[in-house]
Point group: C2
């Protein structure tokens, strides 16, 4: 079933120990939709400026991503500049120019209305909430956020969380959001804010899936997917969004949301995240084949299964 995703489509200038790229296509909705496109139909809601042209469009079109919901506005697209020179696990932001995103008012194209799955990628929770409210009848809603919104826009974020089925965040964000250093306790606290499922991403150590269980609201950890320690991480940008795209894209492709489907979805999330970091920006995912995805899925299975 089709996913509608709202989030940033942007230009990124990135420096890592492997090199530097100027103004490559980036943004959470970009990474998410390219990864999810291997599993299901994906429709993007975003805004771009006059610098977004046929070269950028072609990257979406090659993966058959629906970009009719990408609005063109006067001005420049969202721009981010960052580096990972000291620590590949944490971006150092040098510059963030919201540009056309500063006055973005998401509009949902009529053609997107029958989407059964909605993904609220990492943007201002006020915008996430607006899109959520405009699509009340979707079957499953997942979302992402980041430390900036948790720290400085918590009230707006808490409103978003009430409307989520699944939240995907990393360890630091989970601890920050819950105000609790113990991950199991933090998971429970976060699920009490709304989402009945929580994916906590551990970077190079994989990711954990929690479900809210029973009347006591107790968090139960149900699955742990590995990550592949890589010989060389070229560019971590978009790894989390690619994880989300693999995870949610796979769920949307399934006839039923069984526990087994969630487990496989966690694996596909890890798989897409592991590809994303192998090249700069969208380079690796844009050139990926379904066979490569399935081969790495089996490699992850081999890595974690007793027999």
């Amino acid at each position: 079933m089709a996913i509608t995703v709202v989030g940033s489509v942007a230009f990124d200038s990135i420096e890592t120990p492997a090199g530097r790229r100027e103004r490559c296509l980036g943004g959470a909705a970009t990474h998410f939709s390219l990864a999810a496109s291997f599993f299901t139909e994906v429709r993007v809601i975003a805004v771009v400026g006059e610098d977004f042209g046929p070269r950028q469009e072609a990257i979406f079109r090659a993966r058959k991503v629906d970009i009719r919901g990408i609005e063109r506005a006067k001005g420049k697209s969202f721009f981010w500049e960052g580096s990972y020179l000291d620590d590949l696990n944490e971006a150092k932001t040098h510059q963030t120019d919201l540009n056309v995103f500063a006055s973005f008012e998401p509009k949902i194209p009529a053609e997107y209305r029958d989407s059964q799955f909605l993904f609220l990628a990492n943007i201002d929770p006020v915008l996430q909430r607006r899109v959520r409210e405009a699509m009340p009848d979707v079957k499953l809603v997942a979302g992402d956020t980041m430390n900036y919104w948790i720290k400085d826009h918590k009230q707006a974020l808490l409103e978003v969380l009430k409307g989520l089925d699944i939240l995907l965040i990393n360890d630091t964000e989970a601890r920050m959001l819950a105000g609790n250093d113990n991950l199991v306790q933090a998971a429970r606290a976060v699920m009490a804010m709304g989402p009945s499922s929580l994916v906590i991403k551990h970077g190079e150590y994989g990711a954990s899936l929690f479900h809210r269980a029973g009347a006591d609201g107790k968090a139960s950890q149900t699955f742990r997917a590995p990550a592949l320690p890589l010989e060389e991480v070229v560019d971590p940008t978009g790894a989390g969004d690619s994880f989300a795209g693999g995870f949610f894209g796979y769920l949307a492709s399934q006839p039923e949301l069984t526990p087994a489907a969630y487990r496989r979805a966690m694996f596909y999330g890890s798989v897409m995240g592991s590809f994303a970091v192998e090249k700069f920006g969208t380079e690796r995912i844009a050139k990926l084949s379904r066979k490569e995805i399935d081969d790495r899925f089996l490699q992850f299975r081999e890595l974690t299964h007793l027999d």
Copy 2:
């Protein structure tokens, strides 16, 4: 088959957010041997002082650990005092008194000579090497070390590594020993120093098994065992040694060291580590039943397996 282990048997005073214990039984050889005793016969080589009495002996005897190789010397036993108040993943050492360990000269009892497995727990690499050389005919040798020896006694440690089949260390130690922040590259560098297998422990994120592969000396990661994020970690002391005991104890119990046996050994390592932290010192492992171990093994399998 029987394991001989050399390492510290000590008294620990420990403070964690869960409370404080004065002079409880500790030491790497203690935690290792209690954990390994659930799988095979274990024989300890260590030295203790006059403060080591029937109460401490009883803890070993209850698990049928052979302590004929624990020498009694004039003076006090090794003493460590530490806390985990800021970070449960890292001990802050307040005091280390080597006491009788300062002049320890390991002697191998005649009854230990037919041990096929040897574990060199975390002590001065000079002592590790001496025991290794005194038991040249063992079938498999594994060992542990820590940042202190890597930093200030590297030459002696490198000599020990040449005689190891398996080294068990944590992420920080692997990176420090190899001088390389990338774990896969670090694993390859460490295995080039001697051990053909390497277990890297990731704390609450589990552990990875690497084997040296092929003529090019390339490191291949073969397995990733999970850890159970715990609701409450009472005392992390001895978690790594208990992991080693479960891992090596299980290997020693197997008729053949197949890849499947190594995978299960990684799981048993994680299982024993997860129990160790539930109470202070040796309290939890000392009271453990084989059924509890097997139940948690199944829980770990459920946590990581797709179906």
